[in-house]
């Protein structure tokens, strides 16, 4: 079903997006553009205290206020929810505890937004403040009043430890062993569209929710659970997202609250969050402290790798258990790592919850690994490009932690950026203050497992052909700007030989479309694409059979192209696509087909093996150039070269846009973006600057020139060979920036973002004869458990854990 067919007519070409005309004329209807008659407006009262018990809530004055129709508090919606089955720790409105500044406590529905705003002031909440937990260290300390009553101990949400092969033996046969600390600060998605939802509970007892969500299926499930309603009576419509980046892939309080308020009032209820509230919703990058121990031979070959991470999780679970595993999952898919150990931990803190931001849990360890390799190469006198190029994981192989990788175009990616940037002539030879840095990366093309355990397809497509030849594709996927609607149209158009702009695409509507799990983990092109191929091939067979009968030729001789259905041996003989549709409907009845996709089973069988497997892995390499003023530490990034192995472009222009957008977002994280907090005089943990003015992100003035190279190394599991592109190209940028700064001024900044102040501090340290670096100085004492032990494939392992440490020979100690 994935055999590449050549030459393609639509696939690979840079068509405009099928929804481009609507987007450039302002006609796209985002969630806040939905307006219904008699609609009420909702506002949330959010906690101003980071950590407290709620003693009482009095809403009587608010209820009596002009324009107010209903007020809700936690006791109205007592059933918990959460995106992961293991972290059902959120309530639509706080029950008896607030866990961060911004945690919603009560909700008002009123005839206008202003009336709802004013009524919030009239709600009286009495709190008993609790000691707030603001940092990783505080999260690891014993807690009298833990933030949650579940987790691995105190405020430690999750602890994991796993060992693949014999790392001790690996370190003992290394020529050098390195041990370094790194830190990656949190950052947020900052999608331009503020979250918005409109709920309409109709007189028929059915609920419709329009929402800016990346995951309508999971919202559907959570609404049914919390509202106690049959899922069949709930319809979730994911409006086109005005940017997502992972920030709209949780189920949010406000989505459930407006549904409840609509049910209570019998009127439609809308909420649109303010920008400040969007900062509090967060679910962004986890601040992560890392310790990396690497054993290498003199040629740079890794003999063993031991990664330790601690994630600052914020106030709720969100995707955090998965995020924790992801900080240890993908270190093995780029370079050969014969023995690998990972210890991970996530702590709860009284800050907005962290979750999945573009790259989900992998940019932090990727930064550490790529900075580490740069350090090792420089120490061993090796070329940082060569140390990577020489030790690539081979294609079609199993990694030490049992990830099955298919195509790997990373070598070609490295070659492109090395050649284009003049790496060999320029790196290490530019005047002081100018430097080049390289880094590589890999990312999943869809998680192997769904978020909740089931054996159903992860993506479904239905296809309808009408008597006029009109083709409609139905799929639960959500277009968040990445172009997933266009990908569906392109694939169906390719197979049916029609114009993609003649296809209608209906997506993201739980009443109308079959389930697709959502726009996360870079899964959409591969999974919906494969489902669309199956549905379109089934339709093509019907059309070819009917047309073949009419033409008096076998169905195998029927071709579909250019809006015609014809005899491939005699292309003049044939009919139009609508004529073929009429013939097929006459022969087969109403024309409709389905297709579905489920990823292949993963090879790992150990606890924790669910995070990391993917049908295919994309690869990227980047070279970044910097110009640093050694007097101030202020630096600019004049140019970036990036190469990305996308397997196969379904639409080249869209792939380019995803690469450039990823580079931009990676650069923002590398240079300036910080989700930063301060502790005020009352020991309250508050966001430093929940506004777009103070949360710095790159503008048109900071965006460098970017030279992009697309590498197509088709993967057998991808539709037409395609792999992901929406997240992977972000990953190499932060480490490449740090590595370039080292090339420019000879100091290491082992912390993201790389700010002028940190560069200057490192330069001062160097001048004082101290280590020429800025970064974390110590790693806390984390009570990681005894690791599970897994024999690697090279040791003859079967993917299952064994009950004792593994020896070098693959035996058990």
């Amino acid at each position: 079903m994935t055999a590449p067919r050549k030459p393609t007519r639509v696939v690979g070409r840079p068509f405009a997006k099928v929804d481009a005309a609507a987007k450039v004329t302002g006609q796209t209807k985002f969630a806040d553009d939905v307006v219904l008659p008699r609609m009420l407006h909702c506002k949330l009262l959010r906690s101003k205290i980071a950590h407290a018990r709620i003693l009482s809530i009095d809403v009587s004055k608010a209820l009596a206020a002009p324009g107010v129709v209903a007020v809700a508090t936690g006791k109205d919606l007592p059933i918990p929810f959460g995106i992961l089955p293991v972290s059902q720790d959120e309530h639509a409105l706080c029950m008896d505890r607030v866990r961060y500044v911004g945690d919603p406590v009560a909700a008002v529905a009123a005839v206008s937004e202003d009336a709802a705003f004013d009524a919030l002031d009239l709600i009286e909440v009495r709190y008993e403040p609790l000691p707030p937990v603001g940092t990783i260290d505080e999260g690891l300390a014993p807690a009298d009043a833990p933030i949650h009553d579940y987790g691995d101990s105190g405020n430690i949400h999750k602890l994991v430890s796993m060992q693949f092969g014999d790392t001790e033996e690996g370190f003992s046969r290394a020529d050098r062993v390195y041990d370094n600390l790194y830190f990656y600060e949190g950052s947020t998605h900052l999608a331009l569209e503020q979250h918005a939802s409109v709920a309409d509970f109709g007189p028929d007892g059915k609920l419709t929710l329009w929402s800016s969500t990346q995951t309508p299926h999971y919202v559907h499930r959570a609404l049914a659970k919390v509202l106690g309603m049959p899922p069949a009576r709930i319809r979730v419509i994911a409006t086109p997202n005005g940017g997502g980046f992972g920030g709209k892939s949780d189920v949010f309080n406000h989505e459930i609250v407006v549904a409840h308020l609509s049910r209570v009032t019998g009127r439609p209820v809308k909420i649109c969050l303010t920008r400040e509230e969007v900062f509090y919703c967060h679910r962004g990058r986890h601040p992560t402290l890392m310790r990396v121990k690497t054993g290498v031979k003199k040629d740079g070959a890794i003999t063993a790798l031991h990664f330790q991470t601690v994630l600052d999780g914020g106030g709720y679970g969100s995707y955090g258990v998965a995020s924790t595993y992801y900080t240890g999952a993908l270190q093995t898919v780029t370079y050969q790592v014969p023995a690998y150990r990972f210890d991970g931990a996530r702590v709860f803190t009284n800050k907005p919850p962290c979750g999945p931001k573009r790259g989900h849990g992998t940019p932090q360890p990727r930064f550490a690994l790529e900075a580490e390799l740069d350090r090792i190469a420089c120490d061993l006198g090796l070329d940082p490009a060569a140390i990577r190029r020489d030790h690539l994981q081979p294609p079609n192989s199993l990694t030490a932690n049992f990830l099955r990788v298919g195509s790997i175009g990373l070598g070609a990616c490295i070659d492109r950026v090395v050649a284009a940037s003049g790496w060999k002539k320029r790196r290490g030879k530019l005047p002081r203050g100018r430097g080049l840095g390289i880094a590589c990366s890999s990312y999943l093309t869809g998680a192997g497992l769904p978020i909740y355990w089931n054996t159903m397809p992860q993506s479904g497509v239905q296809l309808k052909i009408d008597r006029g030849g009109g083709v409609t594709v139905f799929c639960g996927s959500t277009d968040i700007g990445q172009g997933s609607d266009t990908i569906l149209a392109a694939i169906v158009a390719e197979i049916l030989g029609i114009d993609p702009f003649d296809i209608r695409v209906v997506t993201g509507d739980t009443d109308l479309t079959p389930v697709d799990l959502g726009s996360y983990s870079s899964r959409v092109t591969l999974m919906t694409g494969n489902a669309a191929i199956e549905a379109a091939e089934r339709a093509r067979e019907m059309l070819a059979a009917a047309a073949g009968e009419k033409l008096g030729i076998p169905a195998e001789r029927v071709g579909l192209a250019g809006g015609r259905v014809f005899d491939v041996e005699n292309p003049e003989t044939g009919m139009t696509f609508p004529e073929a549709a009429v013939a097929a409907e006459s022969k087969c009845g109403t024309l409709g087909t389905v297709g579905s996709y489920k990823p292949p089973p993963s090879a790992g069988r150990y606890r924790g093996a669910g995070v990391g497997p993917s049908p295919a892995y994309s690869y990227s390499a980047a070279v970044v150039e910097v110009e640093v003023d050694p007097g101030t530490g202020i630096y600019t990034v004049p140019k970036i070269w990036i190469a990305h192995d996308v397997g196969k472009c379904i639409n080249a222009a869209l792939v380019m846009g995803q690469v450039e957008g990823s580079v931009y977002m990676g650069l923002g994280e590398a240079t300036m973006e910080e989700m930063a907090y301060r502790t005020d005089a009352n020991r309250n943990v508050v966001h430093k600057f929940p506004s777009m003015l103070e949360y710095k992100s790159p503008t048109t003035m900071e965006m460098p020139e970017v030279a992009t190279f697309l590498v197509e190394d088709p993967d057998a599991n991808g539709p037409f060979g395609a792999k992901e592109v929406g997240q992977g190209p972000l990953l190499p940028i932060p480490p490449a920036v740090a590595n370039a700064v080292f090339d420019a001024v000879g100091v290491r900044v082992d912390e993201i973002p790389v700010t002028p102040e940190k560069i200057l501090r490192a330069l001062k340290a160097k001048a004082q004869g101290k280590p020429a670096r800025y970064g974390p100085e110590r790693f806390p004492n984390v009570p990681y458990p005894e690791p599970i032990h897994v024999r690697t494939p090279a040791e003859g392992g079967d993917g299952k854990a064994v009950d004792a440490p593994v020896t070098a020979a693959g035996g058990v100690r």
Partner: protein, 194 residues
């Protein structure tokens, strides 16, 4: 949480005035504290104008007033009487899309499309003042508009392409804009054998 206004439904005196929007005169009655952004979206149903912060930080709500780009979240509706307001809904004409709209569509400069109206109108004001802007001039003109999807690159290229079209030149998107630097003559990318 950033706005506080006292809701007194009965005390509100609505401003009743005529606005010139996209070349048409429309009458509207609205509370005098409403911003132009709110008037356009809520009272005139012109939801093509978007909002990202309502504090003048992101440029998403940019419209043209008398041909100049203005953040509609920082202007009161009552200030706009007698002035000519242009929104994204007014850009396309009977002849089809404005060249900027077509260039944004062709190049994929609109990904999620949420910041797009603000960029289009700011870009239009630039090209009306300077038909042949350099890249640094384009960057500077658009510096008040944030985009989180594109990294701005396709937006710069789209403004350059539209400018060429508006000067009457027969320009096409550059191959490397659409395929990267690895394209071959057939217009398709070379495929690696793994």
């Amino acid at each position: 949480m950033t706005r506080r206004s006292k809701f007194r439904e009965r005390e509100l005196t609505r401003a009743h005035l005529a606005l010139s929007v996209n070349g048409e005169t429309v009458e509207a009655a609205f509370e005098p504290h409403k911003t132009l952004l709110e008037v356009l979206r809520e009272d005139l149903a012109l939801t093509g104008t978007k909002h990202g912060c309502e504090l003048g930080e992101c440029g998403t709500c940019a419209v043209l007033i008398d041909g100049k780009p203005v953040l509609s979240c920082l202007v009161l509706g009552v200030e706009c009487e007698g002035r000519s307001i242009e929104t994204v809904e007014g850009m396309a004409g009977p002849g089809g899309l404005h060249p900027l709209q077509k260039a944004f569509a062709d190049l994929g400069a609109a990904q999620c499309g949420y910041c797009t109206p603000g960029f289009l109108l700011t870009g239009k004001a630039l090209l009306e003042e300077n038909p042949n802007p350099t890249l640094p001039q384009i960057r500077e003109a658009l510096a008040g508009n944030l985009c989180r999807c594109t990294g701005y690159i396709k937006i710069f290229e789209a403004v350059e392409l539209a400018a060429a079209w508006m000067r009457g030149e027969k320009a096409e998107p550059r191959k490397e804009s659409l395929y990267g630097f690895d394209f071959d003559e057939s217009g398709l990318l070379p495929v690696l054998k793994s």
